[in-house]
């Protein structure tokens, strides 16, 4: 009999406590963002698709077309070709393609690059209707970069 009434009292107390919790939530500010219109900044370690880092002064890729990334990529999705043109001090890439459908964002390519010329963008939500849309030519404009105003920064 004692339990019967103590159950009632604890039950009633917990109900009131629950009401207070939700009422406080009702009065506190909203914590979600209206996604397509508002976006949260992307966290620091985020990996979007690979991008080439440009030289600050010349604006040309830092990449020396050594081919290390191409050889070490476990998914074999990088294609690099380069040549030393007349008047240039070094080789520059002429072809730099990433098959993003196969890239596992493992990080190997940017790690092995001797001149730190590869980084990852902060573009997310990449979507497309065909596979071809994910054959990225890193020397051309990449999807999302212009829209998000992403500026490649040299890795330190």
């Amino acid at each position: 009999m004692k339990k019967y009434f103590s159950d009632l009292v604890t039950g009633a107390k917990s109900l009131v406590a629950g009401f207070i919790v939700t009422f406080k939530a009702l009065l506190s500010p909203v914590v979600t963002v209206q996604y397509p219109r508002e976006k949260l900044p992307v966290g620091k370690g985020y990996r979007g698709h690979p991008i080439l880092i440009l030289e600050d002064d010349t604006g040309r890729p830092k990449c020396i077309a050594c081919g290390s990334c191409m050889r070490l990529c476990p998914s074999q999705c990088i294609t690099v070709q380069g040549e030393k043109k007349e008047g240039d001090k070094r080789k520059y890439p002429t072809v730099f393609q990433v098959d993003f459908t196969r890239c596992s964002l493992c990080g190997t390519c940017s790690e092995v690059c001797p001149v730190a010329a590869l980084e990852y963008s902060d573009v997310y939500g990449l979507a497309g209707f065909t596979r071809e849309e994910f054959q990225y030519d890193l020397l051309a404009d990449l999807p999302g970069l212009v829209e998000t105003g992403f500026k490649p920064v040299s890795a330190d």
């Binding site: 019967y4 009401f19 939700t22 009422f23 939530a25 909203v30 914590v31 979600t32």
Partner: protein, 328 residues
Amino acid sequence: MDILSNIPPHLFRMIIAVAVVLGFVFANATVMGYLERKLAGRFQRRLGPMEVGWHGILQMPVDGIKLIAKQLIVPDNVAGILFYVAPLIAMSPVALPFLVIPFAPGLQVIDLDVGAIFVLTMISFNTVAVFLAGWSSNNNYAMIGAMRAVAQNIAYEIPILLSVLAIGLMTNTFSMKGIIEAQKSIWFIIVQPAAFIMMFICSIAETNRAPFDLPEAESELTAGFHTEYSGIAFSLFMIAEYTYMFVNCCLVATLFLGGWKGIPLPFGDYSSCIWFFAKVYFLMFVIVWCRWTFPRVRFDQLMNFAWKYLIPFSLVNLLITAILVKLL
């Protein structure tokens, strides 16, 4: 009633009354649907619908159009006509309680001697609809939902009636107007707090709202009794649910919160319906608040609560009321 009686032909008045009531039923469902989703959002610290119209204000009309436009899928081997009749049974009696609800001294169609009982009777029609829907759907989930609805409604009808009876003992009448008049000096929520709380809890259970929404418990029974209903049939159930919620709150407001009584207003015979609606929508807000606060109870907990707590307590309450009424 006075406004309406100036229009001569009787039929004309009836048509207007039906149109007004049906319009109100749909408007109430729209507003409550919107408020429910908005409040659900705010209780969970998000915004709720925001896309259609200013702050999502057109979301419910658009949803309604979507539901009307949707195909009505009828599974094989449903129990024929009953399957089609169930949503109509849920929907059609909702207009009747409006006949006796006194929105204001001048805004009541007819003052039945047994007004409160009449409202309760109409509300219980919902159980029949739920049971028919579940039984005719040829679906195990729907069937279990229907069984639960019936068991739950039987259990929770008793404390409601006992609480209403306690009020009846004090007022000597079940007429809605008479009960409000009896609260001239003091609202019955102060005299009968236990009856108020029990009746309010039971009316949540009676309308199958969370935390007592076992007949449509999504996590166990997909959608319970309306699993097999789509399109407009489904929305009829939803509209009926919101209307029963409204009617229940009207009853509680009339019995315990003094109905239209409040600060006197000019043209009080009609304008005091503002107080009535304020009280009713406040109660509806509390019901929504409950829904987003408490997790769904288990079926045994539900039954235990009704048979071990609500019914004995309402009996004791009735007994004390009877003794006090006799002595005083």
